[in-house]
Structure formats: C-alpha cells, structure tokens
Amino acid sequence: MIQTKEQFDEDRRDALQEVVNIAMGQAGDSLAKLFGTFVELSIPKFHLCDVNELNQELSKNSTYAEKMTILRQPFSGQLRGEGIALFNNSGVNELAVLMGYEGEVTYSNEREMLLDVCSILVGACLNGVASQLGISLSYTAPTIITKDTTTEKFFKPESIQWRYAMIMEVCLTLEQYDFTSNMLLFLSEESFPPLMNKLDQMLDEL
C-alpha cells in the first residue's frame, strides 16, 4: 500500500486525472446525445484506499448515507475491477421515458433500465480511459446487488476481496429529470502496475 501510494506520484496522478477528465467529457457528450439532454458530470475524484478505510472515505460524501439501489458491472483486461452504480431511487419514471421504455414502468423493466444505465455509465467512463491509454476492456453483464440499502451496510470490509484499491468517484446528474447517479469505479490492486506503465508511456511522450 505504501509502495503503491509512493508510486502514484504527482505527475502520474496529474496525468490520470487529465485522462479521466477527458474520458468523462467524452462520456458526458455521448450521454447528452443519447438522452438528448444536458448531462452534468462531476469532476472525478480519486481515492487510493485501504479496504478498512473505505467506509470512512465514502462517509465524507453525505449522499451515501441515503438508501440506494446498488448495481455492479465487472470489467476485465489490462485493467480489472468493478463499476458500482448507486441510484437514489428517484426519477425512475422520467428515466424510463429517456431510455425508451413505453407504458407503465413494471418491476422488471425498471430493473432492466437501471442495469442499462449502469452499463452505459460504466462503459462511457471506462471506454474513454481505455482508448486514451490504448488498451481494450471487456465487460460482464451488470447485476443488481441490492435494493434500498446504504453503502455502509453494503461495503463491509470482511466481504470485500481486495485489501486496497483505487476508487474513482463520479456523479451524474440529469437536472431536467431529477435524476442522480453516483458511480464508483474500483480498480483492483493488480491493475496498478499496467496502469502506471501506461501513464509513464504517456508522460514519456511529452
């Protein structure tokens, strides 16, 4: 962990932040085109954290104290990890219209729609990162992990397989639709070396 923190020096952090900012810019643009509305994406925040500090880290953001629906989508390739999408259960009906579901929103199509949005968010953010770093990723179908729970109840240190990870946090808002989703991208430990390599390559080219 200490070693990793040292490895993640200022230049690399700066480079990664820029890569991610650009990726989110592209994601925002694509999402805006897809939904036909202005999309607000927060500036991504990074945490390099130990599993035991995870909840403490997340508790800094008050959104996570609310009950939410939590979805996950694993990704693999040179970067491995999981995208976790958190929805605050509001704006679901408007979102259904946005996602092209006609008629009454049933339990099943609400679930599928949330899965769609999870997949879109994770894909939009990661594809931009992957293409800038020149790597390709593969995605597994997303799943709903839990409904109506708080992150603290969900992220129990003993149930998480890694000891530390890089977490990228983004918040997406569709203001017109009263819809907000928080996304956490967890990069596993074994993804650090290839990620650092790729960042170094970019920095070397300067």
């Binding site: 700066d14 932040q17 820029e18 900012n21 989110m24 592209q26 925002g28 643009d29 202005f38 300067l206």
Partner: protein, 121 residues
C-alpha cells in the same frame, strides 16, 4: 507577431501537451498558469499575445477568465482547450469571446490548424 504565450491548465501534462504542440515558428517565451486567477495575474503582468485556456479549473475557471477579459474589452486571442465537449460549453465559451475551441484529447496537429485558421501564423 507572437512575442509571448500563456498556457492555462490545472494539469501539468495538459500544459506540456499544449506547449509541445505550439508551432515551431513561434520562438517566444511561454508562461504557464494553473488556474484562472493566476492566469489573469500573469496576463496583466506579461501581456501575452495569445492564450490557450482550459475550462474546468479550481479557483477561477476558464469561463471566469473569458468573462474578465471581455469586461476589460481585451481582444487578445483566446483558444479554449477543454475536455468539456458538450455543446453547452462550446457555445458559452464562444459567447464569451473565445476565438476557437479545441476538444480534448488533442490531436497533434490541432493547435497548428487552429492558429492557421485564425491567421496568427
């Protein structure tokens, strides 16, 4: 004639990328700023002939810099280079007097192409 250049971006890598992309013909000093407030300070001190400006920055963002320049009625050419590529950002920047808008990630020839179009070369 470009006698000095100001590059504004909170990312060091991004600034380096812009500087590397500057036309060789411009043999001029390059000043760097990491946020809008710093940019305005350097601008008033050094009076650069061209500004490359990021939008999303701490303290004062790119829109803030453009608004300040517009208020001073300053006609220095500003080229926005931003990752915020939604139409709203483009329209707002141009509305505040930006002369051109380059989307991040930049391609190697982007800067040269834009300054040529603006007849700054």
């Amino acid at each position: 004639m470009i006698k000095s250049i100001l590059v504004v971006d909170d990312s060091k890598m991004s600034r380096k990328l812009v500087i590397r992309a500057l036309p060789e013909e411009w043999d001029a000093p390059v000043y760097q700023a990491t946020n809008g407030l710093e940019a305005l300070e350097i601008f008033h001190d050094k009076s650069p002939d061209i500004i490359f400006l990021d939008l999303t920055m701490p303290e004062l963002d790119g829109f803030g810099v453009l608004a300040a320049l517009q208020k001073e009625d300053n006609k220095v050419p500003v080229i926005v280079i931003s990752a915020d590529v939604q139409t709203e950002a483009y329209e707002r920047a141009i509305g505040l007097g930006a002369r051109a808008f380059i989307q991040k990630p930049m391609s190697p020839g982007d800067v040269r192409k834009v300054v040529q179009e603006l007849h700054l070369l």
